[in-house]
């Protein structure tokens, strides 16, 4: 497959608030290329004086959703691009995009029937959601689990959809851990990711999983190290850093 990765002008067709600090932008593309779940697009803003800023945003939608993509964007403090997207962009506006990009942090990368373990921190759930949506839309029923670390209940992006998916699909297990404040009456995890939690996540699955870890650096580093300690080979652990770096 050979193609040029050109900028194109997408049109914003819907904006969906996910949490107080995350919004999903639905973007209609003149040239839609089916992506692999986990890939990203680059977004470029151009000021009237010619100044340009670019950021990479993971695709949240599955490749089965053709003609458009969904990007879920987290508002970053002082964020030049996320700040503009939150306050300056409305339905009907156009945005410059190019993609899809990235060939490693994608699922499936091996046999799609293998067990799948997803570990997310905060907005790192976005590319993992694309994997879960693709798994569902493609009718894949491989055993899958998502271990999702958030600070507070209001930060759970895609909460309703994830809970509905877990209720409807016995092969998909959802585990949320609240690191600061848990909801009232919460009986689940209420601490940072640790060895016990990762061991329990691996044990939810019938065999050694292919792992995808995405979130802030500290979480990614510790989860990847803990998964190694579970005896999983390095090649079975794919990581992507995600979250504020000033953008």
């Amino acid at each position: 497959m050979s193609r040029l990765l050109d900028w194109q002008l997408a049109t914003v067709t819907a904006i969906q608030p996910e949490t107080p600090r995350a919004k999903t932008f639905v973007l209609s593309l003149p040239q839609f290329t089916p992506h692999r779940a986990g890939q990203h697009y680059d977004l470029r803003l151009t000021a009237p004086d010619g100044y340009q800023a670019e950021r990479s945003y993971s695709i949240a939608s599955p490749p089965e959703q053709t003609g458009e993509i969904e990007l879920t964007v987290e508002l970053i403090d002082e964020g030049e691009v996320s700040g503009y997207l939150f306050d300056g962009v409305a339905v009907g506006d156009q945005l410059e995009l190019r993609g899809p990009i990235g060939g490693y942090f994608v699922w499936p990368a091996g046999p799609p029937e293998s067990p799948l373990l997803l570990v997310a921190g905060g907005s790192g759930v976005v590319p993992l959601m694309a994997m879960l949506r693709h798994r569902q839309r493609a009718g894949l029923r491989n055993p899958a689990a998502l271990l999702f670390s958030v600070r507070t209940p209001e930060e759970v992006i895609y909460q309703q959809e994830l809970e509905a998916l877990a209720a409807a699909d016995p092969n998909f297990k959802l585990r949320i851990t609240y690191t600061r404040q848990a909801p009232p009456g919460w009986a689940g995890y209420h601490r940072r990711l640790d060895a016990g939690m990762l061991a329990e996540a691996v044990a939810l699955l019938p065999g050694p999983p292919q792992c995808y870890v995405c979130g802030p650096t500290g979480l990614v580093e510790s989860a990847a190290t803990l998964l190694q300690a579970q005896g999983l080979p390095d090649v079975a652990i794919r990581t992507e850093r995600f979250g504020p770096t000033g953008g």
Binding site: L4, A47, R55, V235
Partner: protein
């Protein structure tokens, strides 16, 4: 007329007279990007090799490598994920120093840097000479942390930072250019941030080469 996003403007002027390559923004942070778990290499097991198209391969243990002449470097670095960081502070061994220890064969034109953990990245040999590249052992006055590529990292600051292979184990000299890990996944064969060579289709010869994304 080129496309403009109405109401968009630069939020922060770049400080200290530094220039940002196109599409980049400044960060004070030092983000960590890796494709997999961070390898931990005990110094006793560490070695560094120059191999491939050389008359005689060269090899250093950790102690031998640390006995080589060191220099300070203060480059600006640019990551393909859009962040740039100014005036980073390193100590390490210049590639010019290392290249004095081998006699390259005439056909050596390209280099594959290879790392503990299996990472690879390809570079033209010319990008490693004349003070342009070094093996970094210290960052900000401390031994380079494992998540930033320690104990030793190739640093080629004038190219996007994925060319600066973390956990570097050696360099293999080659006659032909071959894609490394990210290059095989659609990223540029050269990665010049000033030409914004992020992806394979940004390369000058992209129209004549086939590539996958």
């Amino acid at each position: 007329m080129p496309f403009v996003n109405k109401g968009f403007h630069a939020k922060r002027p770049t400080e200290g007279g530094h220039k940002l390559p196109p599409g980049q923004y400044e960060t004070q942070d030092f983000p960590v990007l890796t494709a997999g778990p961070t390898p931990r290499i005990p110094p006793v097991n560490w070695e560094f090799r120059l191999e491939g198209l050389v008359e005689q391969p060269a090899k250093w243990s950790w102690n031998e490598f640390n006995a080589l002449p060191m220099q300070s470097f203060n480059p600006d670095i640019h990551c393909v994920t859009k962040w740039s960081k100014f005036d980073t502070k390193w100590r390490g061994v210049s590639l010019d120093t290392l290249l004095e220890h081998v006699q390259l064969k005439a056909e050596a034109q390209f280099v594959m840097a290879f790392s503990y953990g299996g990472y690879t990245t390809n570079l033209p040999l010319a990008d490693l000479r004349d003070g342009q590249a070094f093996i970094g052992l210290e960052y900000d006055g401390k031994p380079l942390a494992a998540e930033h590529g320690g104990p030793a990292r190739l640093v080629v600051p004038h190219l996007y930072f994925w060319k600066s292979a973390k956990w570097v184990q050696g360099l293999r000299f080659m006659a032909e250019n071959e894609p490394g890990f990210w290059e095989d996944n659609g990223y540029s064969m050269r990665g010049d941030p000033w030409k914004e060579e992020r992806y394979r289709s940004d390369d000058e010869d992209a129209s004549t080469s086939s590539f996958r994304l």
